[in-house]
């Protein structure tokens, strides 16, 4: 909507947009600031905004207490693994739903979404027993599997809506040229769907990174990601705001930075078919 507006109007819009943005961002900013404070100043009254004794001690302490890198690697593996696995499953499924729709396609989609309605905590013990029997407790593969299944309905739906946008004529044309089904998907569809796939990937990574029930309850050490890392800092004895802030900053920084850099992709692609 490139409309011409007056500079005054633009200044007003800018001011209000920045105000809103800063309010929404403030809790994160405050956490990051607090992570650089000595514990005693983190609870000082009145609060100190910038004029505190900046220190990296909290980060040192947090790293001495826990091996951050290990949790970080697990988070990466679980997030990327479940995304890759999810795509392998979801792309063909969404393709067939979009281009060879049956009468039940929409019901199928809704059914997939409904598999997410069982409250996780109600099925914890069944899943725990199942994982124990299969030897999947505290394994990265087990976590990848769970998170793939958790997010699969969402990414199938997202991809389905993108694929539906792709005009059928292009497919017809490709088919006339004698392209096989495989090359049809590989060379015709996929490139057209790349923006959609990109934002699907991003969303899935975010959801997997932040999942905090299964990752806490089905892991011990080998597969424990950053959500478990945080669970050890939530309420120790003594003052802990600054160390909690440092640990939080370390847990959210990777995904936050990824989100910032891919903001354009995300804004463009996150539609769920909301745009016709």
């Amino acid at each position: 909507m490139a409309r011409h507006i007056s500079t005054q109007r633009r200044a007003l819009n800018t001011a209000s947009a920045w105000t809103v943005a800063l309010i929404l961002f403030f809790p994160i900013l405050w956490t990051v600031l607090t992570s650089f404070k000595p514990e005693a100043q983190a609870v000082a009254s009145p609060p100190i905004f910038l004029g505190f004794d900046w220190t990296l001690q909290n980060y040192v302490d947090v790293n001495e207490q826990r091996d951050y890198f290990r949790y970080f690697v697990n988070s990466i593996i679980i997030a990327l693994g479940s995304t890759a696995f999810g795509l392998v499953l979801a792309v063909p499924a969404a393709w067939s739903m979009a281009f060879v729709p049956g009468r039940k396609t929409k019901d199928l989609l809704m059914w997939m979404l409904s598999t997410k309605m069982m409250p996780a905590v109600g099925v914890l013990v069944p899943i725990y027993l199942l994982f124990k029997t299969l030897g999947l407790l505290d394994t990265r593969f087990g976590m990848v599997l769970v998170l793939t299944l958790m997010n699969l309905p969402i990414i199938v739906w997202m991809l389905y809506t993108y694929f539906k946008e792709i005009p059928g004529e292009i497919l017809e044309a490709a088919r006339m040229d004698g392209a096989s089904l495989r090359s049809e998907i590989l060379y015709v569809l996929t490139p057209m769907a790349v923006p959609g796939i990109a934002s699907t990937v991003l969303l899935n990574i975010i959801l997997a990174w932040n999942e905090a029930f299964w990752t806490i309850n089905l892991t011990v050490t080998d597969a424990a990601p950053l959500t478990k890392f945080i669970a050890g800092f939530s309420s120790p004895q003594g003052l802990f705001y600054a160390k909690l802030s440092a640990a939080s900053t370390m847990a959210i920084a990777p995904i936050l930075i990824m989100g910032w850099f891919s903001q354009k992709q995300l804004v463009r692609g996150l539609t769920f078919g909301a745009v016709k």
């Binding site: 309605m117 199942l130 078919g273």
Partner: protein, 290 residues
């Protein structure tokens, strides 16, 4: 249009996902149904046997149940209203040409990247704490008595925290929808003398209907299961003021370790969720038809 071969190929491509999801649904569901009929407490391995519907009646007739259902609905509806209304307003605002648009968008969507436990811990300790939280400090600065958010308005406080987490998601989807609105349509309406409010009401809002539906649908699915934020902030209290259905199940499963009753609670929650979904689809589902 589709040939027989492409139809079977399509079925082949669909089947891994469907089969996996089917297994993922059926196996835990079957186990849950099975456990829900049995006496099964982790802390009493020797108590076994069928309990018929005893677990169900215990769960449904427990004094906290009715309130928990209501609280769950309030939580879901509250977060939906806040995220949709503010989401539209913010989307409208940041869709305008402004200076520093990229940075503003980054700031606005940032809360979406924060892990739920981290978000709950930040809000609880550093903002809502009535003695040294920032809100209390701000109140003192203004000469007012600090409000004990989590004690006096626990559910509203949790709604605020969850809404903060989901607002970026709503804003993003609404923003993409807004950007697809053709400016000619709006300009034509402007020419016809439609005011800003009329343009919003008669052109933008209908255009956003589909996006709003998507936001409502997806968020509802996630919001119905929320309990981690409650666990971190209020423990369901004071009293049962912020006890929701998932929290009640959590209490059975991980405080009492009564797997039977927790399973019954899970089944009840699934049934209720499906009722909600049914009415939701009746009410707004038509917006999703192509």
């Amino acid at each position: 249009m589709a040939t027989q071969s492409s139809r079977s190929a399509a079925r082949l491509m669909l089947s891994p996902t469907v089969i996996l999801l089917l297994v993922w649904m059926i196996v835990p569901l079957a186990m849950t149904l099975w456990f829900s009929l049995k006496r099964y407490n982790l802390l009493y391995p020797d108590r076994t046997g069928f309990n018929d519907f005893g677990n169900y009646t215990r769960f449904v007739l427990s004094p906290a149940f009715g309130g928990a259902v209501v609280n769950t609905l309030i939580l879901v509806v509250g977060v939906l209203v806040i995220t949709v209304v503010l989401g539209i307003l913010i989307a409208l605002l940041i869709d305008q040409p402004i200076w520093g648009q990229g940075i503003v968008r980054i700031l606005v969507i940032s809360p979406f990247f924060i892990m739920p436990p981290v978000a709950a811990l930040i809000w609880k300790n550093m903002f809502m704490n009535p003695t040294n939280g920032l809100f209390a400090e701000a109140a003192k600065l203004l000469g007012m008595a600090p409000i004990d958010f989590l004690g006096q308005a626990p559910l509203a406080s949790i709604i605020l925290i969850v809404a903060w987490q989901w607002l970026p998601f709503a804003t993003l989807i609404l923003l993409t929808a807004l950007q697809s609105l053709s400016s000619e349509e709006l300009e034509a309406a402007e020419m016809d003398g439609a005011g800003a409010i009329q343009r919003f009401w008669y052109i933008m809002l209908p255009h956003l209907a589909r996006a709003i539906t998507v936001v409502v649908l997806i968020q509802t699915i996630f919001l119905l299961g929320i309990f981690g934020e409650i666990l971190v902030t209020t423990n369901g209290g004071p009293g049962t003021a912020s006890t929701t259905l998932p929290y009640l199940i959590y209490k059975e499963a991980l405080l009492d370790f009564d797997v039977g009753t927790a399973a019954a609670g899970g089944v009840v929650a699934v049934i209720l969720a499906n009722i909600v979904a049914f009415f939701l689809m009746r009410a707004i589902g038509k917006n999703l038809d192509a």
